[in-house]
């Protein structure tokens, strides 16, 4: 008996390599804005004006059409105000939203897993607070100067805003984004001497920050769920002064079909807290990290969850459960799991991170990039995202027989980011997890890394206790 397949089966790697219709055209329109932002919008040149006009053309017929046309006209005359920059950022974000949707259709075909459920409601409205308006004003100054016009004075203008945003958990998304972005810009000053500008990346960061200054942009209505949580692996994100651990898992609701969820914990950090120190920083705030390291499931009761499948973790709603091998989950439960729809603001190619399970591949490394050959089809593997503070290494990935990963889209192609692999050593199957140290390391290398990280954190806390508030 084979149940009607709502979920995913074997991955069709051939579909991932096929070109996506219309993708190049959209990305050309995005590149037009990005070029305009490189030179700045104080006194736009004809080439910049043409780039902006292409953006307006691309959103013709959409609800944004009139606003964007007006914004482009003002920007072309060097007279754009903050509301016009907001419109440009919205148009650029909408275009990348369409790229996201087209790529997700392809992902659904390749994995056989459909995104279910209704769409996530769009929040918004209300009055922006002064702090957020200060951030918007800095972003507008950036757009006027352009990446080629940035200098230390302009970039450091973000510092007081970021310092004021950070302590407020409500505004953390904007704060963490601006903090990482400003540090990158500071390391690239003066802009006039830059040989290569990460146009798409900075265009992304700028427009996203701009939209986060809209009142209500980060509100996410939540419901609650009860059932069993089966972890697949941990994805880590970090910039110099912030880190986030995101656990990908399958959730089995009581009496319902399983679906994919994520649980996250993040914190600001000094730039000298790195490696194992990041796990130590995040560990106390998410009991799930302990469950992950111990290979256990968790039983959730009335845990808050957003419409797109992000658990808003509260330790008091979770209890450590039975042992649950992620590879068993990946083989048995993952194929039957459905996925929730993506929230409107999160429709962006960089946000695509779809759990997949690969088995029976052979690894090849013709050049820089490791490739899995899956039924004769190559799939690029992104081993650079495997955190250094963990037992999983690129070498282990290259000798793997089975791999739990996240399917991502980066630099114009799909790639698999390994979360865990199975390899064979002396005729025994060994599993290595990227997030094995998340809840605490037990192996020799891990214990050593933990010790060094503890020492660093102790010094900083001692110094902070002695010197702050005096």
């Amino acid at each position: 008996m084979v149940p009607a397949d709502q979920g995913g089966g074997v991955m069709r790697a051939d579909l991932l390599a096929d070109p996506v219709d219309g993708l190049d055209e959209v990305l050309v329109a995005v590149a037009g804005v990005d070029q305009a932002l490189a030179a700045g919008l104080l006194r736009p040149q004809p080439a910049q004006v043409a780039g902006l006009a292409a953006l307006a053309d691309a959103v013709t017929g959409s609800p944004l059409s009139a606003r964007v046309a007006e914004a482009v006209e003002k920007a072309a005359a060097g007279a754009a105000g903050e509301e016009h920059f907001l419109s440009l950022a919205a148009a650029r974000t909408a275009l990348l939203g369409s790229v996201h949707d087209a790529l997700m259709v392809r992902v659904e075909q390749a994995t056989g897993r459909a995104q279910g459920g209704s769409s996530v409601p769009v929040p918004g409205g209300g009055q922006a607070e002064n702090l957020v308006l200060a951030a918007r004003s800095w972003l507008a100054d950036l757009a006027r100067a352009g990446w080629q016009g940035i200098d230390h004075d302009l970039v450091s203008g973000a510092e007081p805003v970021i310092s004021a945003l950070l302590p407020e958990p409500r505004l953390r998304r904007l704060a963490a984004l601006l903090d990482g972005f400003a540090a990158e810009l500071a390391a690239s000053c003066p802009g006039s001497a830059l040989e290569r500008i990460p146009l798409r990346r900075w265009g992304d960061l700028w427009s996203r920050a701009m939209l986060l200054t809209l009142p209500g942009a980060t509100e996410a209505p939540a419901s609650t769920v009860t059932g069993r949580l089966l972890p697949l692996g941990v994805d880590l994100h970090e910039h110099a002064t912030a880190a986030q651990a995101q656990v990908h898992a399958v959730f089995e609701p009581v009496g319902g079909t399983p679906f994919l969820v994520r649980a996250s914990v993040s914190a600001p950090k000094p730039d000298t807290i790195i490696g194992a120190g990041i796990w130590q920083l995040l560990r106390p705030h998410l009991s799930l990290l302990t469950a992950v390291s111990e290979g256990r499931s968790m039983d959730l009761t009335d845990m808050p969850i957003t419409g797109e499948g992000d658990l808003v973790w509260r330790d008091e709603h979770a209890r450590l459960g039975e042992p649950a091998d992620p590879f068993v989950t990946a083989r048995v439960v993952l194929p039957a799991a459905s996925a929730l729809p993506t929230a409107p603001l999160d429709r962006h190619p960089a946000r695509i991170a779809v759990p997949v399970f690969l088995e029976g591949h052979s690894a090849e490394q013709p050049g820089e990039t490791l490739t899995f050959s899956l039924a004769g089809q190559p799939v690029a593997v992104d081993t650079d995202r495997v955190p250094a503070a963990g037992p999983l290494t690129p070498e282990a990935v290259a000798t793997s027989n089975a791999c739990i990963g996240l399917l991502r889209w980066e630099a114009g192609m799909f790639r698999v980011q390994p979360l865990a692999v199975e390899t064979t050593a002396r005729k025994k199957v060994v599993a290595l997890h990227a997030g094995a140290w998340a809840g605490g390391a037990v192996d020799k290398a891990g214990v050593k890394a933990e010790k060094a990280a503890t020492d660093a954190a102790t010094v900083l806390r001692e110094r902070a206790g002695r010197l702050l508030r005096r």
Binding site: L177, A183, A186, H237, Q244, S266, P284, D455, L467
Partner: protein, 154 residues
């Protein structure tokens, strides 16, 4: 994206950064736990300064670099890599290490700056320390998707 800093012991030099056109940071006093030295060297001119957090001049930094400044260079090289430190300070030579950067800057006979920068550096150190005490959150932070980890070291 910026590659992350490399791990180093923080007891002696809890804070070092390349900012404001200077290599600057804070060096713990060897004798008094309440005291730290605020040290800096300017990029290009190598103009240097060193004083305590209570604004007393460092006895070692009269006319030339003190031990605190040497410690600062050593730890900066550990944290950021020798290339980035040399490039930022505009020190140019082959086969660089912390010792070579120190010697080359000393050889230029840099002048001593007034202590005006010290207050600014110390306030940046306090801002840096404040990050230790900011609360964590379990609300999702989708923006962090733009900041993947990397195995590249500086």
């Amino acid at each position: 994206m910026l590659p992350p800093a490399r791990p180093r012991k923080l007891a002696k030099v809890p804070f070092v950064e390349l900012a404001d056109g200077r290599l600057q940071g804070v060096v713990s006093s060897g004798s008094d736990i309440e005291r730290v030295y605020v040290s800096s060297v300017a990029a290009g001119s190598y103009e240097f300064a060193c004083s305590t957090n209570n604004n007393r001049p460092c006895g070692g930094a009269r006319g030339s670099f003190c031990n605190h400044i040497f410690a600062l260079i050593t730890e900066a090289v550990l944290q950021y890599g020798v290339e980035r430190v040399a490039r930022y300070l505009r020190v140019d030579a082959a086969d660089m290490d912390a010792q070579a950067i120190y010697a080359l800057m000393m050889g230029a006979r840099p002048s001593q700056a007034d202590s005006a920068a010290a207050a600014q550096v110390f306030s940046r150190f306090l801002r840096h320390l404040a990050y230790v005490e900011l609360p964590a959150t379990t609300d999702p932070l989708p923006e962090m998707q733009w900041f993947p980890p990397t195995r590249v070291v500086v």
